[in-house]
Amino acid sequence: MAYFPHTENEIQAMLQTIGAKNIGELFADVPEKLKNLEFPEFKPVSEIELLAELDELRRRSERQSVSFLGGGRYDHYIPPVVPALAGRSEFYTAYTPYQPEISQGTLTAIYEFQSMICELTGLDIANASLYDGATALAEAVSMAAAATGRTEYVLANTLHPNYCEVLKTYLTPRNITRQKESGANTAAVIFALPDFHGLISNWQEYLSKARENGALFIVCADPLLLSVLEPPAADIVTGEAQSLGLPQNYGGPALGYLAAKKDFLRQMPGRIVGRTTDGRGNRPFVLTMQTREQHIRREKATSNICSNQALCALMATIYMSYLGRSGLQTVAKLCKANTDYAKQKLGGIPDFSVDEGEHFRDFVLHCPDAKKIKIGRPLDDRRLLLSVTEKTTLKQIDFLAETLRRTGKNI
C-alpha cells in the first residue's frame, strides 16, 4: 500500500467539504449486490521484498548474450545517451501532446522523427509511430484497401510468419484477404526487405507487377538497411524500428513506423505532427490532420489508434541524431560484414550449408539436426535461423563454427 499522500485528518476535512460521513457514502450508486462479494486477495510487499524476489527471478532469466537469436528483434549497441535522455521524466511522464503550449518537447521530437523516417524511406510523409512492425504493416494494408477500394493483398516474398498471422487477425474481419497472385482486386503487393530469412532481393519485378494491376506497392523494411540502400520506389514503406536504439525487451515495447506518398495523407493512421505559427512569430509544432482520427471521426476514422509508441520514437530519434549518416551506415555495414563472415565460416563446415545471395543479420543454416543445436532458432528439423549484429565478434563466430565442426553430425 503506497503512493497516497492523505492524512486521516485531511480525509475527514475533505469528507466534510463534500458533505459525506465516510468514503463508503461516495459509492452509493454501486449496487449492494456487487459490494458484498468476497474477492480473492493478494498481499502487498515492500520495495525491499520485491527487489529480493526479483533478484531471484532475474537470475532464472538467463540473458543469452551470444545466443545468435534474431528473427525480428536484434541485439544492437545502444549508446548511453539514448536511455539517459529518453529517461528524463518530463518526457516519459507526459501524455499525448494535446496542449502544444506545454508539449513542444514531445512535439518537436516527433517532427524530427517523422522527418528522419521520410529521409530513410524516400517518401513525403510519416506518422508519429505505431505499436510495432506487424501492426504497422496491417495498418498499411488497411490504407491501401481504403485508397484503392479493393480487398486483396499479395506477399511478394517470405514475410515473417508472425507478421502474416497479425495481417490475418487484423484484416479477415473486414474481408480483406491474402491471395497468391495479384489481379484486378489487389489493393497491395507487400515486399519484405530483407525477408524473414535475412535475404536482400530486388523489388523491381514486384513493383512492376503491382503497377500493372493498379495496386499499391508496400515495402516492409528494416530502417538500418534503408540507411545504405537507394530508397525503394514504394507507395508506402513500413516496418519495425527496434533496431534504432531500443532494447529487445522480449519483443516489446517495439516501434512501428509508417511513411507514404503525400497523396495518401487522408488515409494515414495514427498521430501526425505539423509545424505552424503562433501569434508571436514562433514556428511551433502541433498535432494535426486530426479529422482522420477516432476521437473526431469515431466509426469512420482511418484507424482506432490513440496511444502509439511516442517514447520509443523519441529513443529512435536520439539514436539517429547521435549516429548520423556515417554511424547508421557503419552499423549497417558491420552487420553485413559479420553476416558474410558467419555465412562463410558456418557454411563451410561439412554437412552444413547456407543459402546463396546477400543476407542481412539473419540467415538460415542448413544442418543435420537443428533442434539439437542449442543456439539460434530452429525453423524445422534441418534449418536454423541465426542472427548477428555489429556487436557480434569474429571470435564468437569462430567459436560457434569450431563447436559445430567438432560435434558435427553427432549433435
Binding site: 449496487p31 532469466s61 505499436y131
Partner: protein, 474 residues
C-alpha cells in the same frame, strides 16, 4: 523555442566511436545521400535536455486530464523495467531460459484475474484501443464459433470514448449509438429497442465518461445476455472500481485495461502503453495466442490454441510496461488497490465540491473518479470557452483537464485528479480555478488570450491543416 536537431548539423562532425565501415556488398544500389544530423554528443544531450524542459509531465505538476488517469509513476517501476536480464532478452529465448520473466507475466495475469474477476487475461495488446479491438474480435469469434452469423452490430452509448466505435469498424462490426438519459445513465428503453438477434454485444465504460456509476448495470447485463449478446467493459475508467465492484461480477464478459492509466505505468508522451484483455471462462479459448501456461512445475508459451483469434502483436506485447504494472500490483496488494480507488473518488468529489458554487456542473450528484464542468453559459455571456479556461490554467502552472469530451456535454472540461494528489495540491488547483472564474467575469480578454507565460502563444491550427508542414526535408 529550441531549434531542430538538423539545424545543429556541421558537415564532418560526429558523436559515435564506431570503427571505419568495412567494404561490403548489399546486392542492391546504394544511396548517395542521407540527410541525418552531423553533431557531437554534447549537441544531442543539450538539444534533448532543452526539449524535455519544454514539456510538462506528471513529475512537473498536477495533470488532471480526465479519462487519462495521470497518476504518479513510482520510480521503483522504472528501475525494475530497466533490469538488463529483461530488456536484453530476445523473444525467441527458449522457455527454460526465460522462466523468471514468464513467471512474472503469469503472476501479473493472476493478479489481474483476481482483481477483475476473470478466468484469463492476455497481455498482448499494446494499448487500450488495441485491447478494444482484441476484445471485439473475441466477441466475433464466439458468435461465429456457435454458428451465429447474424450478429453484426455492437451497441455503443453516445457518451463513449471515440476509440469504441472506431474499434468496432476495425473488427468488422456496425456501430449503433444508444442514447444517455438526462442523469447520464444508459436509456434502458432505447437499449431494449435495439436489442435483437443481430446484436453481438454492448460496449460500456463504468463509471461512464461523465464520471457516474451506471446504477442499472445489473438489469442492463441481463437484458443484453437474454438477447444473446455479450458485454464489453472499456476499462479506461477502472481506477474507480478496484476492490469495490469487479467488472466480471457486473456481468461484463470481456474487459480491457489500460496499464498506463490504472496501474501507474508512465504514459511516455503518448505510448508505449499496454491494454490487457480479460475474459470469462467461456471466452478463454478465443484469446490471442500464445498464453503463458503453467504445467508440471514449468512456465511455457502455449501456442496450441486452435480457437484463438490469432496474434495481435508481433510477439507477446509491451513487456517493459507490464513489468512496471507488476511492480505496482505487488507493492499495492489488493488492499492498496482498493484504497487507490477510494481516494481517487474522494479527490474527485472534493474538487467538485469546492468548484460547484462557481462552475456549472451538469451532473451534480456524487461522482466517481472524475466529473465534468460545462461553461456554455459563460461562452454565451462572456465569450469565454472551455479551451480558454484550459489555456489560462497553464499560466497558473497546471496541465489543463480534458476538454470537449464527452461530446454530449457542450463546452466541457473533464477533471480527474487521481488518488496520488494531496489535499494541498487540490486546494491550490481549486484556488486557481476560482481565480480564473473571477477573471472570466471581470477581464474575459485576459482568459481569451491565454496562455501568457508559456514559451509560445496559441497556435494557428487551421494553418497546420491547410498548409501541412510535416517533414523538415519536404
Amino acid at each position: 523555442m529550441e531549434k531542430l536537431i538538423f539545424e545543429y548539423s556541421q558537415e564532418g562532425r560526429k558523436a559515435h566511436t564506431l570503427p571505419d565501415a568495412p567494404a561490403v556488398n548489399f546486392g542492391l544500389p546504394e544511396r548517395k545521400s542521407l540527410r541525418l544530423p552531423e553533431v557531437a554528443e554534447i549537441d544531442v544531450t543539450r538539444h534533448y535536455t532543452k526539449l524535455s524542459q519544454q514539456n510538462y509531465g506528471v513529475d512537473s505538476g498536477f495533470y488532471p486530464l480526465g479519462s487519462c488517469t495521470m497518476k504518479y509513476n513510482p520510480k521503483i517501476n522504472e528501475q525494475i523495467a530497466a533490469l538488463e536480464e529483461f530488456t536484453g532478452m530476445n523473444p525467441y529465448t527458449p522457455d527454460h531460459a526465460a522462466v523468471g520473466l514468464l513467471k512474472i507475466l503469469y503472476e501479473t495475469e493472476q493478479m489481474l484475474c483476481q482483481t477483475f474477476g476473470y478466468a484469463r487475461f492476455t497481455l498482448q495488446p499494446a494499448a487500450g484501443a488495441h485491447g478494444e479491438f482484441t476484445g471485439l474480435l473475441i466477441i466475433r469469434a464466439y458468435h461465429l464459433d456457435r454458428g451465429d452469423t447474424r450478429r453484426v452490430k455492437i451497441l455503443v452509448p453516445d457518451a463513449a470514448h471515440g476509440t469504441n466505435p472506431a474499434s468496432c469498424t476495425l473488427a468488422g462490426f456496425q456501430t449503433v449509438t444508444i442514447r444517455s438519459l438526462p442523469d447520464g445513465g444508459v436509456d434502458l428503453n432505447d437499449l431494449k429497442k435495439h436489442l435483437d438477434n443481430t446484436v453481438a454485444g454492448l460496449m460500456l465504460t463504468n463509471p461512464n465518461t461523465l464520471g457516474l456509476f451506471e446504477k442499472n448495470i445489473l438489469p442492463i447485463a441481463e437484458l443484453v445476455h437474454n438477447a444473446g449478446g455479450l458485454l464489453y467493459y472499456d476499462g479506461a475508467n477502472a481506477n474507480a472500481t478496484l476492490g469495490l465492484a469487479r467488472p466480471a461480477d457486473m456481468g461484463f464478459d470481456v474487459c480491457h485495461l489500460n496499464l498506463h492509466k490504472t496501474f501507474a505505468t508512465p504514459h511516455g508522451g503518448g505510448g508505449p502503453g499496454s491494454g490487457p484483455v480479460g475474459v470469462t471462462a467461456a471466452l478463454a479459448p478465443y484469446l490471442p495466442r500464445p498464453l503463458i501456461d503453467f504445467q508440471n512445475g514449468e512456465y511455457y508459451l502455449n501456442n496450441n490454441r486452435p480457437k484463438s483469434i490469432g496474434k495481435v502483436h508481433s510477439f507477446y506485447g509491451n513487456i517493459g510496461v507490464i513489468l512496471r504494472a507488476y511492480a505496482y500490483l505487488k507493492i499495492q496488494g489488493s488492499a492498496g488497490l482498493k484504497r487507490a480507488s477510494e481516494l481517487a473518488v474522494l479527490n474527485a468529489n472534493y474538487v467538485k465540491a469546492r468548484l460547484q458554487k462557481v462552475y456549472a456542473i451538469p451532473y451534480p450528484q456524487i461522482c466517481q473518479h472524475e466529473f465534468v464542468i460545462s461553461v456554455k453559459e459563460w461562452k454565451k455571456q462572456y465569450g469565454v470557452s472551455a479551451a480558454d479556461i484550459a489555456k489560462r490554467l497553464m499560466d497558473y502552472g497546471y496541465h489543463p483537464p480534458t476538454i470537449y469530451f464527452p461530446l454530449i456535454v457542450p463546452e466541457c472540461l473533464m477533471i480527474e485528479p487521481t488518488e496520488t494528489e494531496s489535499k494541498e495540491t487540490l486546494d491550490a488547483f481549486c484556488d486557481a480555478m476560482l481565480k480564473i472564474a473571477a477573471e472570466v467575469k471581470t477581464n474575459p480578454e485576459l482568459v481569451k488570450s491565454a496562455p501568457h507565460s508559456t514559451i509560445i502563444g496559441r497556435l494557428d491550427e487551421v494553418k497546420a491543416v491547410k498548409d501541412p508542414d510535416l517533414n523538415y526535408f519536404a
